[in-house]
Symmetry: C2
Subunit: 250 residues, 2 copies
């Protein structure tokens, strides 16, 4: 497990009951030492694997990811799970005008979220139209992403699904991070095989097999369990089944 201490803002307090440094509510022991749950805006930190809220649970705040990755998932009665959202830093969670979460929200990596109480946030939206506009834009982007995702789930082969996911993560990483020399990309895969399988609508065995296949064919190189190197991004892109013009981002 990669224990990445949040770098954006050093936490000012350390909980007495657990070693997690945090600003407001400790996700491990649920202490609210500073009484920040009463405030409009507060931060919460979570360890990789922890659940932020369960589907159906009360969630009287909206939040945005500060560092780390959160996932939204749906679960069927018999346990089949499908990821339906992947939240990266600056992404938004929660819906104004709804008091329970529709999805399980989980920390895929260590996670820091910036939370706003919902009621004041809604008031703010009314008084500051700019916020609503920005939120609309973000929601439309998410809808587009969801529709791309639907194509992946409905029509792509396992191999294409894996290649697509790797390209998505690589692209995003490259967008805000250093890239390695001469077009070759290196990044940390922030998802377990199981999380990947939930994203892609596959079993984890199939994910593992297809990763091995891509490795065998030299399309990707792995270093340890999580470091991925893509020697030739365009070659991998070929395997996604997507129109090749999607590469404008990189």
């Amino acid at each position: 497990m990669t224990r990445t201490t949040p770098k954006l803002q050093p936490f000012s307090q350390e909980c007495k009951d657990c070693p997690i440094r945090h600003r407001a509510v400790c996700a491990r022991c649920e202490k609210d030492e500073l009484g920040l749950l009463e405030q409009i805006k507060f931060y919460r930190s979570f360890e990789a694997g922890q659940t932020v809220v369960w589907a159906g649970d009360r969630m009287d705040f909206v939040a945005s990811v500060v560092t780390g990755i959160a996932t939204l998932s749906q679960t069927m009665e018999d346990g089949r799970r499908q990821m339906v959202g992947l939240l990266l830093p600056s992404d938004f969670a929660g819906r104004p005008g709804r008091e329970t979460s529709a999805y399980d929200v989980t920390a895929a990596t260590d996670l820091v979220m910036c939370c706003f109480r919902k009621k004041p946030f809604e008031k703010m939206m009314l008084s500051t139209p700019h916020i609503g506009q920005r939120l609309l834009e973000m929601t439309l982007d998410e809808l587009d992403a969801a529709r791309e995702w639907m194509l992946l789930l409905g029509r792509k082969t396992a191999r294409e699904k894996i290649a697509s996911l790797l390209c998505i993560i690589a692209r995003r990483d490259a967008a805000l991070q250093l890239r390695s020399s001469e077009g070759q990309l290196r990044f940390d895969l922030p998802l377990t095989r199981e999380a990947m399988s939930e994203y892609l609508g596959l079993t984890l065995e199939t994910v593992s097999r297809q990763m091995s296949a891509l490795r065998r064919e030299g399309l990707i190189v792995t270093e340890g369990k999580r470091q991925i190197i893509i020697p030739d991004f365009d070659a991998l892109l070929e395997e996604t089944g997507d129109d090749s013009d999607g590469g404008f981002l990189i």
Copy 2:
């Protein structure tokens, strides 16, 4: 093909070159006899099967469905298609701040859309915050629907997919229409087997087979090709794999 003449508003003009009655641009012969393409708001009608816009094409208006059903689809280079949106009366198409369509928009049935030129619409959004708020709400609803759809595509069996689709359509129909006696539902299936297969991420043969299976088991009754009767909605709901509490709408 069901030729349903739009009932909401009788059209005031008939094109000289084709038998379609229409208000503005004739979808068949592309004539703009009334010069309404210059106006801010206008209506367009389409026959079942016609394409409204192709992915990538210029689309300098936003629109809402007046009568009929439109679909949004994505196509891969090799022809695999996945439906990513199903627009029913009052649903909205097009994205402010983008001048080309990201998807193929197709009339699944005969269709009438109410179109607004994009530029004036965007201005209106700025001056009338209420419009933006409403649009945000609708977009959030669509995002939720897309996520439900992702669960269907990623994790449901063919049988569950079919049952889900039938329940979705039946529910919507029942919401605004007459229902038959004693809890039994009857409605017109507005999609071809092929359209259903594009919705569900299946082949049309599998759709046909599963429909036959449900018919054989008495979960649905068909009358002609398109009339569907659901003798026991709850029984069909059992087959969807969904939590049973989703039935609150009916």
